[in-house]
C-alpha cells in the first residue's frame, strides 16, 4: 500500500465516454493482484474532494491500465488528463481474486462496462444456464464482476449448482483502507458486524456475503 504520483503515459478513448488510461508505476504494476483496486485523487482542488476507487483492468511490466466510463465530475476530469500529468494513486487496496485454488475451468462472468456482444439475447445468467452442460463435468470456479443485480443472480446460480464463486463488489467509500467505515457489506457469518468492501473485499466468496 503506497501513495505515488504516477505519470500518465497514454489516454485512449475506446468509444464514446469510455476511456483507458495507461499509467507508469512499477510500485503498483508489479504488486497489484487481479481484483484489487486503487484510490485515485483526480484533483487538488476540493471538488471532487474524495479519491475515486478504480479496479485495475490490466498490467504490462511497469504500467497499469484503468478503464472507466465518464459517470460524473471525477471521471470527466480524469478523461481530460494528458500524457505526462502526474496521477496521485493510493494502493493497491483490498483483496483480489483467489486464483490459486483447485479448479480446472475458470468461468469469467462480467456485466456492465467492457462486456462485448456474445450473440446471445438475455442476461449473462441465462447464458450460463444455457451453457451449463459445457462446464458441469469439470471442476469449475466462477469469477464475477458487474452490477449488484447480476452478482445476486450469480450467487443463486452458483449455490444451486454447487460452484465455487468469487465476485468483485462495489461501494461508495471515502478512504479505501478501512478507517472511514463508509463501505459496509452484510456478512453471512457476522450478523453483529458489517464487513468492509475496501478491506475485507472488494472480492468476496458469494457464500460469505448477503447480496
Amino acid at each position: 500500500m503506497v501513495i505515488v504520483k504516477a505519470p500518465l503515459q497514454q489516454v485512449i478513448e475506446l468509444e464514446n465516454k469510455i476511456f483507458l488510461l495507461k499509467i507508469f508505476s512499477p510500485e503498483i504494476a508489479r504488486t497489484v493482484k487481479p481484483g484489487q483496486f486503487l484510490n485515485v485523487l483526480v484533483t487538488k482542488a476540493y471538488y471532487p474532494l474524495l479519491r475515486r476507487p478504480f479496479s485495475v483492468c490490466d498490467v504490462e511490466e511497469d504500467y497499469f491500465y484503468l478503464m472507466f466510463n465518464i459517470f460524473g465530475e471525477g471521471t470527466r476530469l480524469l478523461s481530460r488528463m494528458h500524457p505526462g500529468d502526474l496521477i496521485d494513486v493510493l494502493g493497491p487496496l483490498g483483496n483480489g481474486f483467489n486464483l490459486d485454488e483447485d479448479y480446472e475451468t475458470a468461468v469469467i462472468v462480467a456485466g456492465g462496462l467492457g462486456t462485448g456482444s456474445l450473440g446471445f439475447k438475455g442476461t449473462v445468467i441465462e447464458l450460463l444456464k444455457d451453457k451449463i452442460n459445457l462446464i458441469k463435468s469439470s471442476k469449475v470456479k466462477i469469477f464475477g464482476c458487474g452490477p449488484t443485480a447480476m452478482l445476486k443472480a450469480l450467487k443463486e446460480f452458483s449455490i444451486e449448482n454447487n460452484f465455487n464463486c468469487e465476485v468483485s463488489t462495489e461501494s461508495a467509500m471515502a478512504c479505501g483502507f478501512g478507517i472511514c467505515q463508509g463501505c459496509p457489506m452484510e456478512g453471512v457469518n457476522s450478523p453483529d458486524k458489517y464487513l468492509l468492501v475496501c478491506k475485507d473485499g472488494p472480492v468476496f466468496n458469494v457464500k460469505d456475503i448477503v447480496l
Binding site: I3, Y46, L49, L90, A174, I179, G182, P184, K193
Partner: protein, 305 residues
C-alpha cells in the same frame, strides 16, 4: 538558530505539536501507521467507543458533496472491551498521546465506559462525544441540550482520573453556552466542531442518498463555520479549545490557532491523504521559521479584531 518549539498544552494535556488526528478518521491507528510515523504527530483520538460493540448503519453511509462529504456511519465500533484487549497493545508501541473518544446512549453508559478506560495507562485523556448526529439515542439528543451536556461533564469528571474534553456540536444557536457549562462542571477543554447536519437527494428516485436520511457534513466546506464557532468560544469562555473542521493544510491550522484553538484535529483529510498529518507538522515548523515565531503556541488566540 534557535530550536522552534511546536509543543502545545490543552489544559493539563501536553502535546509535542498541535496536530491531532480526529476521531472516526484514524480507526484505532493501525491503518494510519502504514502511511505516517505516529510518533511525529501531536496525538490520536480514537474512533468513538461505546460500552458494547455497535454494528452501525446499513449502507449507504457516505456521499460526497461540493468540497465536503456527508457521513452517517452510526458509531460502528468494537466496544470498550475489545478495544482494551485488541487495540491498545498496538497503540502502546508508539510514543503518541492517546485520547479516547466515548459515545453513549445514556449518561450511565458514558460513566461506565470512562470507569473502565480510565485505568488504562496508555490513555492520556477522554473526548466525550455528545454531538454525533447519526444515532437515534444519545448524540444530538444530548448535544443540543445545555443541561444534559453539563450533567455528562459532571458525571464523567467524577469517575475520570484523566483530563476530559467535551466534543461540541455546531448544530446549536450559541456554542459558547455549551462551552460555558462544560467549564462550570469541571471539564478540562472542548473540541469544536463535530459535523453539521445535512442531507442530499437522488433526483431520479427522490430518495435520500444516505440510508439514515441525514448525515454529518465534514470537509473544507465547513471550515468557515468551524472557525466562527472556535472564535465565539474563545471570546466568551475561558476554556482551552481544540479546533476541528475542514483542515486541509498547514495554513488552515494556523487560521484555527489564530481564532483561538490551542490544538487542532485533522479529520476528512486523513481519508484523502493519510500521510498529511506528518507533513503538516513539518510545514508548521517552516511557518514558524519564516515568521520568526519561537513558540507556536503563541499564535493561539492572536486574532486582531
Amino acid at each position: 538558530m534557535k530550536k522552534i518549539d511546536l509543543s502545545v498544552s490543552v489544559g493539563s494535556l501536553n502535546f509535542r505539536n498541535p496536530v491531532l488526528l480526529a476521531s472516526g478518521t484514524v480507526g484505532y491507528g493501525n491503518e494510519m501507521a502504514e502511511f505516517l510515523d505516529l510518533n511525529k504527530i501531536g496525538g490520536i483520538v480514537t474512533k468513538s467507543l461505546s460500552l458494547k460493540p455497535r454494528k452501525g448503519n446499513p449502507p449507504q453511509r457516505i456521499v460526497e458533496t461540493p468540497s465536503g462529504m456527508l457521513n452517517a456511519i452510526g458509531l460502528a465500533n468494537v466496544g470498550v472491551e475489545e478495544f482494551v484487549k485488541e487495540k491498545i497493545p498496538f497503540l502502546e508501541k508508539f510514543d503518541v498521546p492517546l485520547i479516547c473518544n466515548i459515545a453513549a446512549s445514556t449518561i450511565e453508559e458514558y460513566v461506565e465506559c470512562t470507569k473502565i478506560l480510565t485505568n488504562e495507562k496508555a490513555i492520556k485523556g477522554f473526548e466525550i462525544n455528545v454531538s454525533c448526529p447519526n444515532v437515534k439515542e444519545g448524540g444530538l439528543q444530548f448535544g443540543n441540550d445545555v443541561s444534559a451536556v453539563g450533567k455528562i461533564t459532571e458525571k464523567v469528571k467524577a469517575v475520570s482520573t484523566k483530563p476530559v474534553i467535551i466534543k461540541l456540536s455546531p448544530n446549536v444557536s450559541y456554542i459558547s453556552d455549551f462551552a460555558e457549562v462544560v467549564k462550570k462542571e469541571g471539564g478540562d477543554a472542548v473540541s469544536a466542531i463535530n459535523t453539521l447536519v445535512g442531507t442530499a437527494f437522488n433526483i431520479n428516485t427522490r430518495k435520500p442518498k444516505i440510508f439514515n436520511v441525514t448525515g454529518g457534513l465534514s470537509g473544507p466546506a465547513i471550515k468557515p463555520v468551524a472557525l466562527a464557532k472556535v472564535l465565539e468560544i474563545k471570546q466568551k469562555v475561558d476554556i482551552p479549545v481544540i479546533g476541528i473542521g475542514g483542515i486541509m493544510n498547514w495554513k488552515d491550522v494556523v487560521e484555527f490557532m489564530i481564532a483561538g484553538a490551542s490544538a487542532v484535529q485533522l479529520g476528512t483529510l486523513n481519508f484523502i491523504d493519510p500521510s498529511a498529518g506528518e507533513r503538516i507538522v513539518k510545514e508548521l515548523e517552516g511557518y514558524c521559521i519564516k515568521f520568526g515565531i519561537e513558540k507556536l503556541s503563541s499564535v493561539t488566540g492572536s486574532y486582531k479584531i
